[in-house]
């Protein structure tokens, strides 16, 4: 193409860059700045330095207990769901990687829930797990077991949220792994077979190294995605959320949009954001360590 300066290329990228700047970059910067202010959204913001952060470390401050409890719950949720979302989806992807009868139907069933909203996923499972006439309870009864109060009894409250999440989101990773497995050269399996490798050996020595990049991507995106948990507790319990399932975003939402303490809420999201970046970086280091 011609060498002389032309304005046209910039016109092509301008609309996107404009939206990107206004709704992606500006908010990130504003968020940082807001976290140093005390602001009730009505009167003028007051600069308070690091006080919003200090409050999160001061056990006498109002946010202290709630922040750490809900942050802990988010972390607990991430630690439980991420391995499950990875292991189960990889397992299914490997089973469905070979040609088999009804393969397309099976695949469809696993990614169908992904296209639902969190609300619909929660509504469906609330009905399935319903205390008195839910089908899960019905079959537990038929097997001579007690009905479980899935939504009101520990530790089932947690388990319910985990079950809904796995059912709802597994399909995304399933798709990633299906694609990743296609990239593993078939000859490597044949070579391993000639060497007498059994199923486990093939998985460990051929499959896993072959999908390393996919695995890294899945690990990072799943972790980041699960950190954003908000809807499941919010929808299942509304305003009557039990303390042990209230997650950080539920609390941030409350601080920002119920009590309008914008600065404190911003500081919490900054801490959360930094935690997420650090965890991704650690995962990156660990995955690259043995390269």
């Amino acid at each position: 193409m011609n060498k002389k300066f032309s304005i046209f290329p910039y016109l092509f990228i301008a609309p996107h860059l404009l939206l990107f700047t206004v709704f992606l970059i500006t908010p990130t910067i504003t968020g940082f700045i807001m976290s140093f202010f005390k602001w009730d959204y009505i009167t003028k913001p007051v600069f308070v330095g690091l006080k919003n952060y200090g409050n999160l470390l001061d056990s006498n401050a109002i946010d202290y207990l709630k922040f750490w409890t809900t942050f802990g719950n988010t972390l607990k949720f991430v630690v439980i769901t991420v391995p499950l979302l990875i292991i189960i989806s990889l397992f299914l992807a490997i089973l469905l990687n070979e040609k088999m009868v009804l393969r397309n139907f099976f695949r469809f069933t696993f990614y169908a829930p992904v296209v639902l909203s969190v609300t619909v996923a929660c509504m469906i499972w609330r009905w399935i797990l319903e205390d008195n006439v839910g089908i899960v309870g019905y079959y537990l009864n038929a097997l001579g077991l007690q009905r479980i109060h899935w939504l009101s009894q520990d530790p089932y409250i947690w388990l319910t949220i985990v079950i809904i999440t796995i059912w709802w989101l597994l399909g995304t990773n399933f798709i990633f792994f299906m694609a990743g497995l296609q990239e593993v050269p078939k000859e490597l399996y044949e070579a391993a077979e000639i060497d007498g490798a059994k199923a486990w050996g093939k998985f460990w020595n051929v499959t896993l190294p072959g999908i390393k990049r996919t695995m890294f991507f899945v690990l990072v995106t799943t972790t980041l995605g699960q950190f954003n948990i908000f809807g499941q507790p919010y929808i299942l319990y509304g305003g009557r959320m039990p303390d042990n399932v209230q997650v950080l975003l539920n609390y941030v939402y409350q601080v920002a949009f119920d009590s309008y303490r914008m600065g404190s809420a911003a500081a919490m999201t900054v801490i959360m954001g930094i935690t997420m970046v650090v965890i991704s970086a650690v995962q990156y280091k660990l995955m690259r360590a043995d390269d």
């Binding site: 032309s6 046209f8 969190v118 609300t119 991507f217 809807g231 919010y234 949009f257 954001g273």
Partner: protein
């Protein structure tokens, strides 16, 4: 598989054959059970929605409804305090316009990043990619303030416009556009076509698969979005379906027939889209995993 043992002892062959058959049965059993668990909820929602509430609360479980009725659907569509029809309409027009806006804005930008030479091109593009690492969680509260300043609270624009600045769409389309042969542009330039004509008449028509993939992913993401529409709307009539249904969920907490009718209605567009666009949806998702 199995070729290597063909010349072995006959007994070994038979044994191995047996093991393979058993493994196959186990495999089908495992997948069958898992797949049933994953799929039954869909069936159960529909089967609940089309039966009268008296039957929903029957202690005895009947998979097939004894009476089929549309009363649950009628109940939710005529409930004036929970305008499910309006929410459906809101979700639909917002998701459609959002998908079109993203296709337009992202394809324009992707075309420039993939096919044009200009100063700072690679720097800007790498910067965009770098920002994909920023957790969007930090953006919600400031974005609320921004759209409040613009006056978009309770307006469809709040859910149509902001996310159109995202980088994923540009990235996906750029990779696709970059893979198209360069000679196409050169021939068009010889014919006297300008950048925009090349983009509109050559690049876009050749990129249908990528555009459809992106449109489906974006439509679904927007249709199902929860946190942002919850923040960006206050009026009951401005809600989108996922947010509206939450209140509805609490209100009808004991009428599961009605609730499942609501869930069925919310399920229709995404499931239809997935059924017809499965190939594009899967390819689009897989793309981000492979190139990511």
């Amino acid at each position: 598989m199995g070729n290597l043992t063909i010349y072995g002892e006959p007994g070994v062959k038979v044994k191995r054959f047996k093991v393979e058959v058993i493994l196959k049965i186990v495999k089908y059993a495992v997948i069958g059970v898992m797949s049933t668990v994953w799929f039954i909820p869909f069936i159960w929602v529909i089967l609940t929605a089309i039966r009268p509430n008296t039957e929903v609360y029957n202690e005895a479980l009947h998979w097939i409804p004894q009476t089929i009725t549309m009363e649950n659907f009628k109940a939710i569509l005529t409930d004036t305090s929970n305008p499910v029809g309006k929410w459906f309409f809101n979700s639909f027009y917002i998701a459609v316009l959002h998908a079109f806006l993203i296709l337009l804005v992202c394809s324009l930008a992707a075309y420039a990043y993939a096919r044009l030479n200009f100063k700072g091109r690679d720097k800007i593009f790498w910067f965009l990619l770098g920002t994909m690492m920023i957790p969007t969680i930090m953006n919600y509260i400031p974005n609320y303030i921004i759209i409040d300043k613009i006056g978009w609270i309770d307006k469809g624009a709040a859910m149509i416009v902001p996310a159109a600045g995202n980088v994923f769409g540009v990235f996906l389309l750029r990779q696709f556009f970059a893979g198209l042969p360069k000679e196409l542009d050169e021939a068009a330039v010889v014919d006297g076509a300008g950048y925009f004509r090349i983009y509109w008449e050559i690049i876009l028509p050749l990129s249908k698969p990528a555009l459809i993939s992106l449109a489906i992913i974006v439509f679904l993401g927007n249709w199902n979005d929860y946190f942002w529409p919850l923040i960006a709307t206050n009026n009951v009539s401005s809600r989108t379906l996922p947010v509206g249904l939450t209140v509805f969920n609490n209100r009808y907490s004991v009428e599961y027939g009605t609730l499942m009718a609501g869930a069925s209605i919310a399920m229709i567009p995404p499931i239809l889209l997935l059924s017809f666009g499965q190939k594009y949806f899967v390819k689009g998702i897989a793309f981000s995993g492979i190139k990511g």
